[in-house]
């Protein structure tokens, strides 16, 4: 048994390919937990960052600086009454959130957090991710239909049209990145998520800089399409609050609603991971071929620990700035404790074996976090598109650009090889 467990650690493949069920299960569990934590953190961060963009404080009451607010929200959602409209189609109403949340989590089994840090690596990795995430629209459409109400129905119709149209632009952008993987010495491309990152490693460039500005344009097309795919501002028409109250999930409440919420955020993380894998070099640290040598390796491997220590220092600074009133004593102690935990994690990340194992995951997470910040930033800045304008952008702007980039990439690939 012990051999079974340790044997995988020495191998250099993913547990799925190694056929190691124990570790595959551990990875699934870790990803599920990590994702849930990320969604909770994202919930808090979005409210805080958006609040600070809008000259207000955001959640401040539950816990110091509102740190416990997501937990309070989750509790509220769980104990809330679960209402199903009388005229709703009960089975479909029940299944719809499940479809959305299952597809949102399933895509993560091929996301490569590192060369070996993925549940499995598939020959058709990207295709699998796009395919499974395209299934989530089914959940949205059925949710809108099953509610048997006008606003959700309009939201569902908008969402299905929107997601089907933007999938095409997204697919074209993805294909041009996949085409770039074939421009190495042996001339065979790959759809595997790990293979794509390795191709970037072999070609010594992130695909965003490949054939400048071709890679950048393809990335731009993908970056716009992915915001539309996840129904986020400025493309949040399916749930446009000011028009359709809440769009397809108007009739949902309590736990079922929280499933939609969970799915939306994990879908955001999923598409961001695709973008990071395809264009931003996945788990690679910055400048892997320029800043080489032992010293640079050491410097970059210290980043994770430094980040957490910095976060801890910020937390301690906020602890000092807490009001001195006895009412805030518990909160102050809690904040200090939170800082201490962050600091301890930071120190743990300085230990060499941990440091080396965590590095890939760290760089991947940092890149994804950048996208998450962009999502919040968009929401704070842009008004919402109207439906016809949305379609115009999808079909008349992104689609031709995507096609053009694909053709030019193909021609360049043939000419150069």
């Amino acid at each position: 048994m012990l051999d079974y467990i340790t044997s995988y650690l020495k191998s250099d493949t993913t547990p799925g390919q190694a056929g190691n069920f124990f570790w595959a299960f551990v990875y699934i569990l870790l990803i599920f937990l990590g994702l849930s934590v990320a969604v909770i953190a994202m919930n808090w961060l979005e409210r805080k960052i958006l609040a600070h963009m809008q000259v207000r404080l955001g959640p401040m009451r539950v816990g110091p600086h509102g740190l416990l607010q997501p937990i309070a929200d989750a509790l509220k959602l769980l104990i809330k009454e679960d209402i199903m409209p009388a005229e709703a189609d009960p089975v479909v109403f029940w299944i719809a959130p499940l479809i959305v949340v299952i597809t949102a989590f399933t895509v993560f089994i091929v996301v490569p957090f590192g060369p070996t840090h993925a549940v499995t690596d598939m020959n058709i990795g990207v295709l699998f991710m796009l395919g499974v995430s395209s299934l989530s629209v089914l959940g949205i459409v059925t949710a809108g239909w099953a509610s048997n109400s006008h606003y959700p129905l309009i939201g569902a119709l908008r969402s299905s049209a929107q997601m089907v149209s933007y999938e095409i632009a997204m697919g074209l952008a993805v294909i041009s990145a996949v085409l770039m993987t074939s421009l190495n010495t042996d001339g065979t491309g790959t759809l595997s998520m790990i293979g794509i990152v390795q191709a970037q490693q072999a070609q010594q460039t992130w695909f965003i800089f490949k054939f400048f500005p071709l890679g950048l344009i393809a990335f731009f097309v993908f970056a716009v399409a992915m915001v539309a795919e996840t129904n986020r501002a400025p493309f949040d028409l399916p749930e446009a609050e000011s028009e359709l109250t809440a769009g397809f999930h108007t009739e949902y409440s309590g736990f079922r609603w929280s499933l939609f919420f969970l799915a939306e955020y994990s879908a955001m993380i999923a598409v961001s991971s695709i973008a990071v894998t395809l264009w931003l070099g996945g788990w690679m640290r910055p400048f892997p071929h320029w800043l080489t040598g032992e010293t640079w390796d050491l410097v970059f491997s210290l980043f994770p620990g430094v980040t957490f220590v910095l976060l801890a220092l910020i937390t301690f600074y906020s602890t000092i700035r807490m009001p001195k009133h006895p009412y805030f004593r518990v909160q102050t102690i809690g904040l200090a404790g939170f800082g201490a935990v962050l600091g301890l994690i930071g120190l743990l990340l300085f230990v060499p074996p941990v440091r080396d194992r965590i590095q890939d995951i760290y760089w991947f997470a940092v890149k994804v976090a950048g996208f998450m910040y962009l999502y919040i930033w968009y929401r704070g800045t842009f008004p919402r598109y109207r439906f016809d304008q949305l379609m115009k952008v999808g079909w008349k702007v992104l689609l031709p650009i995507g096609l053009g980039v694909l053709i030019v990439t193909g021609i360049l690939g043939v000419v150069l090889s």
């Binding site: 089975v91 598939m122 020959n123 058709i124 395919g131 395209s134 089914l138």
Partner: protein
């Protein structure tokens, strides 16, 4: 990687496909039928995976389950279902149906009786990694002409659809 519990998965996926296929034609509510059809398509995708054809499975999911079925649902939602349910069902072709079912049944029985000689005993082993490349080679090298003709046909169909839809706009 070695396949695990092949027999179990084969029968499981087959059962899922067949049961949901039956559900497609027995449900009166078209949305339920469509959802059952999606499950059937997913079961089929699973069967493709078992045949070491991951690319076909992926395309099956992305095109049929994710794309076409969404459009199906889209259309169904625009239809007034209560009225559609009162509408007379298309049962006029039952003679054709019986003939077709009988022919299919005979075929099944024949295959079952002397199936042993019809199929190769051992499955041709294709390395897992080369399935996608294999399809690409077939489509874009060996059968390039046929493939392009098919795409042209589809283009004509798209243009036709646009022209027909344009009248209403």
């Amino acid at each position: 990687m070695q396949p695990v519990a092949t027999t179990f998965f084969f029968y499981f996926l087959s059962a899922v496909t067949v049961i949901s296929g039956i559900a497609v034609i027995t449900r009166r509510n078209p949305v339920h039928s469509a959802l059952a059809l999606i499950v059937a398509l997913l079961g089929q995708a699973g069967l493709y995976l078992m045949l070491y054809a991951p690319f076909v499975a992926g395309v099956q999911i992305i095109l049929y389950a994710g794309g076409i079925m969404v459009l199906f649902l889209f259309v169904i939602m625009l239809v007034n279902i209560e009225r559609a349910q009162k509408e007379e069902q298309f049962n006029k072709q039952w003679i054709v149906g019986i003939v077709a079912a009988l022919a299919l049944g005979v075929l099944f029985v024949l295959v079952y009786m002397k199936g042993k000689g019809l199929f190769p005993q051992t499955v041709a082993q294709l390395p897992e990694g080369e399935n996608t490349q294999g399809i690409a080679m077939l489509l874009y090298r060996d059968y390039m002409f046929a493939f392009e003709i098919a795409s042209l046909l589809l283009l004509v169909a798209i243009i036709g659809a646009v022209v027909m839809a344009k009248k209403r706009i």
